[in-house]
């Protein structure tokens, strides 16, 4: 068994409705989906966000796309046009959620997703006049 962060295995996306943040996580195979259904509970997500989320967290399952959707109430400092936060729409909360760690068999841990390779960006940036 290995303990690894969700970011190693799952995709994520977050959006807003008023003071509610919706954060979805996506598994890439059935085995990983079964693990996150078991381990990534609403309670654990609630605990991860601590004082950032004032209300309840509800979890919904979408097995057709191997995903979980978390609805975080009171999560955006009052909602987009009222919030003082720089991330007033909670767009980065997906990245925050995949910090959560899960225990997985070694063969699932071996499916870690690759790290970004942005050499193409270097090629663009290096050609610019910069000070």
């Amino acid at each position: 068994m290995a303990r690894i962060a969700l970011r190693e295995l799952c995709g994520y996306r977050a959006g807003d409705k008023g003071d509610i943040s919706d954060v979805a996580v996506f598994a890439y195979d059935d085995e990983t989906y079964a693990v996150i259904v078991e381990q990534v509970t609403a309670e654990r997500v609630r605990a991860l966000f601590g004082s950032m989320v004032r209300g309840d967290v509800t979890r919904y399952e979408a097995p057709n796309v191997r995903a979980l959707n978390f609805v975080l109430r009171g999560a955006l400092g009052g909602g987009g046009p009222k919030s003082l936060r720089s991330d007033n729409l909670g767009k980065t909360l997906g990245g925050a959620l995949v910090r959560l760690e899960i225990d997985v068999p070694d063969e699932i841990a071996a499916r870690r997703r690759p790290r970004p390779d942005v050499t193409w960006a270097d090629a663009i940036l290096d050609a610019l006049p910069q000070s």
Partner: protein, 460 residues
Amino acid sequence: MPDPVRLGGGQGFYGDTPRAVEGLLAEGIDYLCLEALAELTLAILQKDRARDETLGYTRDLPRYLAASLPAVVDGRVKVVTNAGGINPAAAAHAAKETAKALGISGLRIATVLGDDLMTRLGPLHADTTSRLANLDTGEPFEALPAAPLFASAYIGAFPIAEALAQGADIVITGRVADACLFLGPLIHEHGWTRDDWDRLSAGILVGHLLECSGQVAGGNFSGEWWTIPEPWNLPYPIAEVAADGTAVITKPAASGGRVDVDTVRHQLLYEVHDPASYFSPDVVADFTSAQFEDLGSDRVQVSDVRGKPATDTYKALLAYHAGWAGETRVAFSWPDAPEKAKATAAILAKRVEMAGIEVREWCFEYWGVDALGGPTVPPLAPGVEPPECVLRAAWRCDDERTSRAVGRELVPLALSAPPAGLTGMGRGMAGASTELLGLWPTLIDKTLVDPGVTVTVEEI
């Protein structure tokens, strides 16, 4: 009747680029759907309308129309948009002026009205089942902290279908629900009925996938985002929707981006709450019933979507004035950057207090440490220091003058605070102020809204 119908998602928000239109038209679409509204957008439009009552629509509409009207005149495409915001009549006027300036005539422009509830909140409060209670918190309407500034119902797709049936080339609406901009043309072309829940649900799912433009085609994508082809050549999505509701999601071949089951499923769950019961004005869609198949070449087939009967209510959104905010940023470098930032936050707050300036709420963020992740960010390992840290301070006051005064208390700290001298504030310096708006979602009985919904088609 074309089968399948080709819908293009040419706009994902107010501020998206009208250059999207050219690529979609070149690819060939039957309907150009321009989704311009979000909760935050309505708040922005309210501020416009408060300054000038001829505003209140998304002001990039003329540029979108300038890019599309030649194709509309040629009968190649029709345009459906909720760019009307909180003033669809003004948007329709702007559309006519745009056509006139281009020397275009013979167009039929439809305006859908009836989503604006502002003038009848009193009777609605008395008559609607929810009593305008806050949908999210349950608070009664009496707890609304200030007078409403706008109140709009999220109405459905059938008025759009009606406008198209009356021969409209361009349909301009106010707060029609985002996905319904796409469902409207499908109802019109395929003759879907009001109780055909599975077909309506399929149309809502397609609309939901397309309404955020590039987000279904590799934008904001958390998978292997660095492998998305030509990410600067933005992909605006296309759906080919058959009469049975089966659809293919794709994009113009000449654009960048990627459409596969992974990029599509990321958008499927975006802001939906319960994916098995996604509430729209015309149907309750079950997104968990949908089957996705990768057809290759940036084509994903969506099928088997199931729907449940629509509810008796529309969602509506009210907003109220919630004070004024200001913000500033100061950068600190190693060594001890986070400590310097935190001390400066405290010094600013103390000076504001000493000056007798009343701040209702503060928000201090430490960029480079935990500004975005908050409590989800684990503490740094002992002995590890971030190389730099930016303090972002934001504050809320009752009025704009007070909010500006807070920012001014920061400036003297340039020579009298932890080192080194208010770096990184930018040329704007401290304290530009913004009006804050609080949102109040609620439910309105459809029977109290539908009689007021009108579709007017005018030939120019």
